[in-house]
């Protein structure tokens, strides 16, 4: 079983996001990038599948600040192959990024491709279904749980209200991961350092980085708010007293 995991970085939402002076994009001066949370779950799910069924895990991402560290961390968790796409990915949309990934994936011949169901900055679709189309594979998203069954996979797909659909998919296939069966594992820095001296990151040029299907943003802005919350100020004691009054007024206390 060969499992490929294409991943990407996204802006860290813990940091304050600001709009650049042009008013159509995020200001990248202080922007901190981190792994897309769903992609982190996809890596974990791939390693869980490998641990259960055997096989190899290959993690692939476009070059970016911190990409090497992320790839080595994935290796320390159990990934067997690391690939970095090289080129200028600064303004690349998801269609082009998926095409670049697809070019590399074609040669890898994976049985299963796991990737995050979405990224919070997706504006032109999500990577998983685009990859499936470019590679001629079926796709199932919102997956939280996988069972390999010969040349098929049973994916547990989430719907609203806690409803789960068990979907049978013929391999090879692309699955969009909502959550791994267990939280992404922690790996000690000493182990990552150890891996760094032995693991190799293969570099492959990113191709077809054209922007034909770009969505053009003419204005980017912070949400306009009809009515912001009334802020309760003061010490924890003061705030608690005000909350008690609200709870009483609403009849929940």
């Amino acid at each position: 079983m060969k499992i490929a995991v294409p991943v990407k970085f996204v802006p860290d939402l813990v940091e304050e996001l600001t709009i650049d002076p042009g008013g159509t994009a995020l200001d990248t001066t202080w922007l901190r990038l981190i792994i897309s949370e769903f992609d982190d779950h996809a890596v974990e799910q791939a390693i869980l599948v490998k641990e259960k069924n055997g096989g190899q895990v290959c993690v692939i991402m476009a070059e970016a600040d911190g990409a090497d560290d992320f790839l080595f961390t994935a290796a320390a968790k159990g990934a067997d192959q690391l690939i970095k796409l090289t080129g200028d990915f600064s303004n690349v949309n998801n269609h082009a990024l998926a095409r670049a990934h697809a070019e590399v994936l074609k040669d890898l011949h994976p049985d299963l491709i796991l990737t995050g169901v979405q990224a919070h900055n997706d504006l032109d679709g999500s990577i998983g279904p685009l990859l499936a189309e470019y590679l001629g594979m079926p796709y199932v998203g919102y997956v939280a749980g996988i069972t390999i069954d010969g040349d098929k996979v049973i994916a547990r797909k989430e719907y609203a209200g806690g409803l789960i659909a068990e979907i049978e998919v013929k391999l090879p296939a692309v699955l969009g991961i909502q959550a791994a069966e267990q939280p992404p594992r922690y790996v000690a820095y000493s182990k990552i350092r150890q891996v760094m001296s032995t693991a190799k990151i293969e570099e492959k040029p990113g191709s077809a980085l054209s922007l034909e299907e770009s969505i053009v943003v003419s204005r980017m802005f912070l949400p306009e708010v009809a009515e912001r919350a009334t802020m309760l100020e003061g010490s924890p004691d003061d705030v608690a007293a005000k909350l008690i009054a609200i709870f009483k007024e609403q009849g929940t206390l």
Binding site: H120, Y139, I164, A165, S214
Partner: protein, 319 residues
């Protein structure tokens, strides 16, 4: 080439989803600038009755056993053909477990751009998408000649997409749907052995800000004192700190208690989808820029770890 707006209706086990009505409401807004009609597209098997309360100028209905419930191949093949035939101005999908599975692939296959996470349309027909966990809005012209769109809830009321007047239904022949690679085995019902958080008058809900499993006790203590239940956002459930039965959001429960006390919850759109209709949202979050304060009635940036023990004590005294 038409100026019509197609809406891909979503249904599960014989019920049209709320998202579908929100999409129809959005389509009506968009059709005003495009000058076309609103055309609902319903795929199903013996499901024509689901069209009866859709607010649309026309419903295109495709019937086939393989379309009874949503699956990837059957929907994608059917819609590829249908969109080609209709060549509409725009096709609206849900930014959901159904729509997101097919919209991007169809975009690549048909070479029509797709706009993700659209929340509203302007009167000039521009899209406004909500990205970066609800912290950023992006506006732009809808790509021409045909744009695919995935739509998030929140911008329009579901009721605006419903009508008491049944629309006219046009039957469209299904394409050949053999050799499908994806099939539905079964649905697994949500676990009902736990407290039903949709029935609680008040919820103490914890998010990523709770930091670790041990801290959940602080929320449990407060909920116990108040006599209500604890719920959670996705990251907390994914960590296994709180069971899935307590998950609030897009793929969890949709709750509307009298008071929703959000502790360390940022207010990402996926979460708001499940609790935005609560009567009073009270948010505790140290990040003053957290989007939760945009929908909360009351908020505080006091650290919850300072606040919770004091609050629990005061609740006990007040009883």
């Amino acid at each position: 080439m038409s100026q019509d707006i197609l809406v891909i209706i979503e249904h599960l086990r014989g019920q049209v989803t709320d998202t579908s009505y929100v999409m129809l409401a959005g389509a009506h807004q968009l059709s005003q600038s495009s000058g076309g009609g609103v055309v609902a597209v319903l795929l199903g098997h013996n499901a024509q009755k689901l069209a009866s309360n859709l607010s649309a100028d026309k419903v295109l209905y495709v019937d086939h056993p393989a379309l009874a419930e949503f699956t990837f191949d059957a929907y994608q093949i059917t819609l590829e053909n249908l969109i080609k035939q209709q060549s509409p101005r725009a096709v609206i999908f849900g930014h959901s477990s159904i729509g997101m599975d097919i919209a991007s692939g169809l975009s690549a296959r048909l070479e029509f751009p797709v706009v993700s996470s659209c929340r509203t349309f302007t009167s000039e027909g521009k899209f406004i998408s909500q990205i970066c966990g609800g912290k950023i809005m992006a506006e732009g012209d809808l790509p021409a000649p045909t744009a695919l769109i995935t739509m998030v809830p929140g911008g329009y009321k579901a009721e605006s997409g419903q009508s008491s007047q049944p629309p006219s239904v046009e039957i469209i022949a299904a394409p050949a749907l053999g050799d499908l690679r994806v099939s539905l085995k079964q649905y697994i019902e949500p676990d009902t052995s736990d407290v039903d958080i949709t029935k609680e008058k008040m919820l103490v809900s914890v998010g990523r800000g709770i930091q670790n499993k041990d801290n959940i006790e602080l929320a449990n203590d407060l909920a116990a004192a108040l006599g209500c239940a604890v719920s959670a956002s996705r990251p907390v459930v994914d960590q296994g700190w709180i069971p899935t039965t307590r998950l609030v959001g897009k793929s969890g429960k949709h709750v509307k208690p009298k008071i929703y006390l959000a502790l360390g919850i940022s207010g990402a759109p996926e979460h708001v989808e499940g609790m935005g209709d609560s009567e009073y949202i009270v948010a505790v979050n140290t990040d003053i820029n957290a989007p939760i304060f945009n929908i909360a009635k009351y908020g505080t940036t006091v650290d919850m770890f300072d606040l919770l023990p004091v609050l629990t004590e005061k609740v006990k005294q007040a009883k």
